[in-house]
Symmetry: C2
Subunit: 356 residues, 2 copies
Amino acid sequence: MTRSPQYPQLDTPCAVINLDTVDRNVNAYQAYCDKHGIALRPHIKTHKIPAFAKQQIDAGARGITCQKIGEAEIMADAGLDDILLTYNVLGERKLARLRSLFDRIKTLRVVADNEAVIEGLSRAFSDSAKPLEILIECDTGGGRCGVQSPDAAVVLAQKIQSLPGIAFAGLMTYPAAGGGPKVGGFFGDAMAKLDAVGIDCPIRSSGGTPDMWKAHEVSNVTEHRIGTYIYNDRSLMAREVCGEDDCALRVLAEVVSLPAPGRAIIDAGSKVLTSDLLGLEGYGCVVGHPEVNVVGLSEEHGILHFEADLSPFEIGERIEIIPNHVCVVSNMLDQVHLVRGDVISTVDVTARGKVL
Amino acid sequence: MTRSPQYPQLDTPCAVINLDTVDRNVNAYQAYCDKHGIALRPHIKTHKIPAFAKQQIDAGARGITCQKIGEAEIMADAGLDDILLTYNVLGERKLARLRSLFDRIKTLRVVADNEAVIEGLSRAFSDSAKPLEILIECDTGGGRCGVQSPDAAVVLAQKIQSLPGIAFAGLMTYPAAGGGPKVGGFFGDAMAKLDAVGIDCPIRSSGGTPDMWKAHEVSNVTEHRIGTYIYNDRSLMAREVCGEDDCALRVLAEVVSLPAPGRAIIDAGSKVLTSDLLGLEGYGCVVGHPEVNVVGLSEEHGILHFEADLSPFEIGERIEIIPNHVCVVSNMLDQVHLVRGDVISTVDVTARGKVL
């Protein structure tokens, strides 16, 4: 049986990140993108830590992806200077912050999927020396934001080209898992229709870690955005995108109670692991203990079940859990611990909780 | 149709708390406890804000409940001086912090449900001038921590009485919803067995908001711990514990996309509302829009569905959502906004994210 490291110098619950695993994950996918001529634009939502964003850039990534202006501001403060903000920005407050950010970094692009957003962006950038480049978000089956048809993308591209301060730069989508062929079809149709009205479409940005190794199969995609690949998690293990050894972030927890046969209680609850299931059963996988299920979480307690005749744990024993969804775990913690060999350091999750 | 306040001075997503509703919730339950002679010990996990803890004390609460030492430290810093920590404290680091906290406030009690925890507490308090009082946590059907039988409670009470630095003070449970009769039975048996061996059991602490109005039916309970009642939420509306007007905290969100008939996307996702379902369908209730369902959340997006022939929203429109589980929403936000009439103020959620 694999014994989990105990890390006596750390207090539980906490997140421990193996830097060798991070290096391997970052470099492997960069090599894949380089081989296939795809620009990699990692999404910082998974780590929310500028040092990891810089590592991704140093490895060869084109730029980074942020979802919120607050995240992008943190990354810009740390020197990241090529950011795609994959969100409809609305309202005078957010538009003023977007403009201020745009004016201080090399490259900032945004997305839009409707006229109200485009008109707001044009107002905020009408006096800008260089235009704000906008990608049209397309719904290729994800069922979230995005125009519903290539024709609708063309209408919005023409709208952008007609207004001051902004310029159309391409297409963006966050596909459903397995949605690569639909992305290719949607983007191909839209590119042909844009070409027919004389509009260039240089950037075609897709994303998602579940299909990361199939990105090259969608030939008209120029850029891939992924976040989770840097840490990986149980949801990606379940999809066979990675193995347990590729999971860089583990939640270190301690057994605080063994109240009844077949039950153990740990000090990591939904305030660390979150309630995200991502279609899985249970709230994480206990490293080295396939016989144990994390059947429930309250805010400060995790409830583990196992066969009543087993005694896998002692009170005070530490266990490692690979979370279902690692991005949301990063968002719960003010700090995480980084491990390389015997050396442990602690870093702030600087862009945590940036909801604005 | 109820029109939601728009709060143009606030940026979205955010949490807005109606102070008149807070006052009414705090005072109504204090009056109930006063009437029935039950000591109220509110759990600060719902608000994580010292000012609200003080309001609860000023209204007549006996003390407060915290789950983590980090929360209790924040509350003690703000002057709260009677704290019950309802958690098994283990490990030298946490025990040292517990002792330090104990030495600086009037009253600090903890719980325990096993010998390892009791022995650790005794070691940490063996040289204390006054003993640390411990309640034995009992599993009365909740299936989390707690001894499984009244006999086991007696064994641990005797263990506590045999060790230096600590003293047995009573029983504690977090019951399953509807578990009042089981609490009464378990506590009654344990009290009789303790009495038979000459051990006093002055405190019998139960808790939970779902059964808050039935607390008096369990006659041997001296103290009730509840958290959610100060704000209330959709889970308590579903259990008919409160109505919509009793829900003090609402998430203010903005419609950022209307991509397709029957679908709207808002800027509040799981980073604000969390993925907690608490047995409900959907991720919150949209105030004034019973025809709309919050069917999905990703981290920064909420997905609303409604009949395809309806057009309930415009892009940029603001909506209010009553979350499924309000305690976990407090934990997502560095700040919340307080509203009294036309006056809005902003406070830090000081005890947010205290996992240690």
